[in-house]
């Protein structure tokens, strides 16, 4: 039994932590957000040089050969700095899908570019009608001469504005909600027929509405077999949820630490407000919420490691664990964010203080790939149907 990160993981974790502490202070972050692109290309290049962009990729593509555990180690520290550079979009999601893909040519073309920092990628999956249901895809890819023609609109494509390449979830056959008949294509962001409307999001990042009009793609742009795209998404989703949860855990721990420190210095009624029991018990509750979330994250990692060895026995447990984790991240994240603001008092709702910015990233993570209720319902289906 072991819950320690390995020596290598601790090294990379420390290196991200040092960056956040020494180079990514709150003012630096604010300036980046206010810049034209909204992310720092210099830092991105630095991430590449430090090897952070190579973490989850196989060695044959120039990667670090890491597991989801390595990814989690990085994400927790990035969370502590609410780093806005598109690590989740490019490395975790776009890179994750590529890693799971069976199209060797695509993999050997794009993964090295992710690793050297020259390719930013996004996953275009959501549509106006689809909310959290990933298989609700109306964007069509119809066969035509030379390949497929994509038509439709994708919404809330994270970091779509900076992305060079998009993985687009399309329907090649079947009805709107069918899990069969979904195909994933690699599409260049500047391909003819692709138009991108971008906007800022409250967490300091950005998203885009992307429409596809008669966008021509070929077989060579398919990530896997035609119609089998959901299998790739299903395979990668636990890792995405674990990575997002790790980011959230980093934020939750930071919010708690800042809040506890603040109460020790803030004086009212002639005494630090940390001496008030009404506040103490609330901070104990947020401390426990954070530890319980960490335990579920570790549970998810243990289950992921088990499923990696034997998917036939491990996958059901892993799914239960990640649904429980994501639901808990959302619930406890909300608790911790709201308590941090309340305990800070008036200053907690100012834009000037970092608290609100941590909270806004937590709120964004909360809805990404399903909110608390969505994941709890999935958990219920797995746990109580056919009991």
């Amino acid at each position: 039994m072991n819950f320690e990160f390995s020596e290598e993981q601790v090294m990379i974790k420390d290196s991200v932590a040092r960056f956040v502490r020494d180079e990514y202070d709150f003012d630096t972050r604010r300036k980046i957000i206010q810049s034209e692109e909204g992310i720092s290309r210099d830092f991105w290049t630095m991430f590449a040089e430090l090897g952070w962009l190579s973490v989850p990729f196989e060695e044959q593509y120039g990667g670090f050969g890491g597991s989801v555990e390595d990814l989690v180690a990085v994400m927790e520290e990035l969370g502590k700095g609410i780093v806005v550079e598109p690590y989740v979009s490019t490395v975790v999601i776009f890179g994750g899908l590529l890693s799971a893909a069976t199209n060797e040519e695509l993999k050997s073309t794009y993964i090295p570019k992710i690793i050297d920092g020259s390719c930013l990628g996004s996953f275009a999956f959501l549509e106006p009608q689809s909310r959290f249901e990933l298989a609700d895809i109306a964007t069509s890819a119809k066969t035509c001469e030379g390949g497929f023609s994509i038509n439709g609109t994708k919404t809330v494509v994270f970091n779509g504005a900076s992305a060079d390449s998009l993985i687009v979830a399309t329907r090649t056959s079947g009805e709107q909600f069918d899990r069969d008949g979904i195909s994933l294509f690699m599409v260049a962001a500047d391909a003819p027929g692709v138009s991108i409307d971008s906007y800022k999001t409250m967490d300091g990042q950005s998203a885009s509405t992307i429409s596809f009009k008669d966008v021509l793609v070929t077989d060579s742009q398919l990530l896997g077999a035609v119609g089998q795209g959901m299998a790739l998404v299903d395979q990668v989703m636990p890792n995405i949820l674990l990575a997002l949860s790790a980011e959230a855990l980093g934020i939750m721990a930071t919010l708690n630490a800042i809040t506890v420190d603040y109460t020790k210095t803030r004086q009212q009624f002639g005494t630090p407000i940390s001496s008030f029991q009404a506040l103490q018990h609330r901070m104990v509750d947020t401390f426990m919420a954070c530890e319980q979330t960490k335990s579920l994250l570790y549970r998810g990692l243990c289950d992921a490691n088990k499923a990696a060895v034997d998917p036939s026995v491990g996958t059901a447990e892993l799914l239960k664990s990640v649904h429980a984790l994501k639901a808990t991240v959302a619930k406890y994240g909300k608790l911790i964010g709201e308590e941090a603001i309340q305990i800070h008092g008036g200053i907690g709702i100012t834009d000037e203080l970092n608290i609100g910015h941590y909270v806004k990233r937590l709120m964004t993570i909360n809805v990404t790939f399903g909110d608390a209720d969505f994941h709890q319902k999935k958990f219920n289906q797995l746990s109580y149907s056919n009991f």
């Binding site: 039994m1 072991n2 819950f3 320690e4 555990e69 506890v260 109460t263 020790k264 940390s274 001496s275 029991q277 506040l279 103490q280 018990h281 901070m283 104990v284 509750d285 401390f287 426990m288 530890e291 319980q292 979330t293 960490k294 335990s295 579920l296 570790y298 549970r299 990692l301 243990c302 490691n305 088990k306 239960k320 664990s321 429980a324 639901a327 808990t328 709890q376 319902k377 958990f379 219920n380 746990s383 109580y384 149907s385 009991f387």
Partner: protein
């Protein structure tokens, strides 16, 4: 990260399972769950003697006094298997509470006199800490022990004394000095329940059972040799014991078993033709608990893993009691909800068939008595005070 056990540990786990399966038979289980009064005591003694005969009655003790010599991992496995099998823990007052004080701070004579009889369940112990005026503020206790000749003369009242009606001995915190800081004038005294001047008064509880009592001391003479360690140092001994007891209070295995029973019952209870387990609102309530328990299970594993690696339990250990008791209460609540009308029935001698329901009485009793879990052993509010100070530095 992984939760794998070594081959030897798995072998040990199989041994424990096999022993429980053969020795904790239906007869023992039935007498423990339905026994009343002296029958209940007898049922516990029968089971504890089986554990003693196997040498497994006191895993927490040092080997020289009759402990098992198990590793941290083995102790953890044993506790997990016990909870999973639905076997109640040993009565803690002798084996887990006074014995560690005796073998840590007691004299050689005291060890020789008391420890073997605790191991064999010949002596039953109860705990004399709380008083009407000293609950969470335990150091405010006012039961006095006045030194005279070779004896202490004890006067006062202890309250919430579980199983005093069955007990041969009581270990007490008593005041031996006034005019000092309140923690400093307290001594740790072992008192024979048959001493003239000691009397027991039952306190019926809201579950309809009798487990709690008041214990009165009226000029009870207690020989000097029954003092543990030094006079006025009792608070230190009691605190050392608390630290000893703080881990292992999450009772995850027990809650997992209760939750699994609850699911089976929810699958059988029907409303409007639909099993309650399929009811979406009930499912949400159920998974609120189950997800927290899944987290707590790993919190407990984290604590255990750091201890097994030779370290101290980290700050996460402090939440085990709070979350463990909150979760077990939440399970009790849902079970009572499931029993609906029948939860209020005082079943008496009626069979389940006559009543029309098969777990209502148990659901009511465990809900009612279960309220105590967040009160005893340091109320959950006191636990929060402790975390605020010791972990968060507030």
């Amino acid at each position: 990260m992984d939760i794998n056990f070594s081959a030897q540990d798995i072998e040990f786990r199989d041994d424990v399972r096999a022993f429980f399966a053969s020795e904790y038979d239906a007869k023992v289980a039935e007498s423990l769950s339905s026994g009343q009064g002296e029958d209940y005591k007898e049922a516990i003694v029968v089971w504890q003697k089986k554990l003693h005969a196997k040498g497994w009655i006191a895993p927490g003790w040092p080997k020289e006094y009759g402990g098992t010599g198990w590793s941290v991992t083995q102790k953890f496995i044993y506790e997990t298997e016990r909870g999973a099998a639905g076997i109640p823990d040993v009565v803690p007052f002798g084996l887990k509470m006074v014995a560690p004080v005796i073998y840590t701070f007691g004299s050689e004579e005291q060890k020789a006199k008391f420890l073997p009889r605790i191991l064999s369940s010949e002596d039953w112990w109860c705990q004399g800490y709380s008083e009407p005026g000293a609950g969470s503020d335990l150091a405010a206790l006012s039961t006095t022990a006045e030194y005279a000749g070779d004896n202490y003369i004890v006067n006062g009242r202890k309250i919430w004394t579980t199983f005093a009606q069955f007990s041969d001995w009581i270990f007490c915190l008593v005041r031996t000095s006034k005019d000092v800081r309140k923690q400093q004038g307290i001594s740790f005294l072992l008192i024979d329940m048959n001493t003239p001047g000691v009397s027991v008064k039952p306190i019926p509880t809201i579950d309809g059972k009798h487990s709690l009592n008041e214990v009165l001391f009226e000029d009870a003479l207690v020989p000097r040799e029954n003092l543990i360690g030094e006079q006025d140092k009792g608070w230190t001994y009691a605190k050392a014991l608390l630290a000893h007891e703080r881990t292992g209070m999450a009772e995850v295995a027990d809650s997992k078993r209760m939750l699994s029973n609850l699911k089976q019952r929810a699958a059988a209870e029907v409303n409007g033709g639909q099993p309650m387990l399929d009811d979406p609102v009930f499912q949400m309530r159920l998974s609120d608990i189950e997800m927290q328990l899944m987290a707590l299970e790993y919190t407990e594993l984290r604590v255990f893993a750091s201890m097994a690696a030779g370290g101290m339990p980290g700050p996460e250990s402090s939440l085990l009691k709070i979350k463990g008791t909150e979760i077990s209460q939440a399970i009790h609540e849902l079970q009572l909800q499931l029993a609906a009308y029948y939860g209020g029935a005082l079943q008496g001698d009626l069979t389940n068939q006559q009543l029309g329901h098969d777990f209502a009485a148990e659901a009511r009793k465990s809900y009612m008595y279960g309220r105590a879990a967040t009160i005893y052993g340091g109320s959950n509010e006191v636990q929060r005070n402790v975390i605020a100070k010791a972990v968060l530095g507030l």
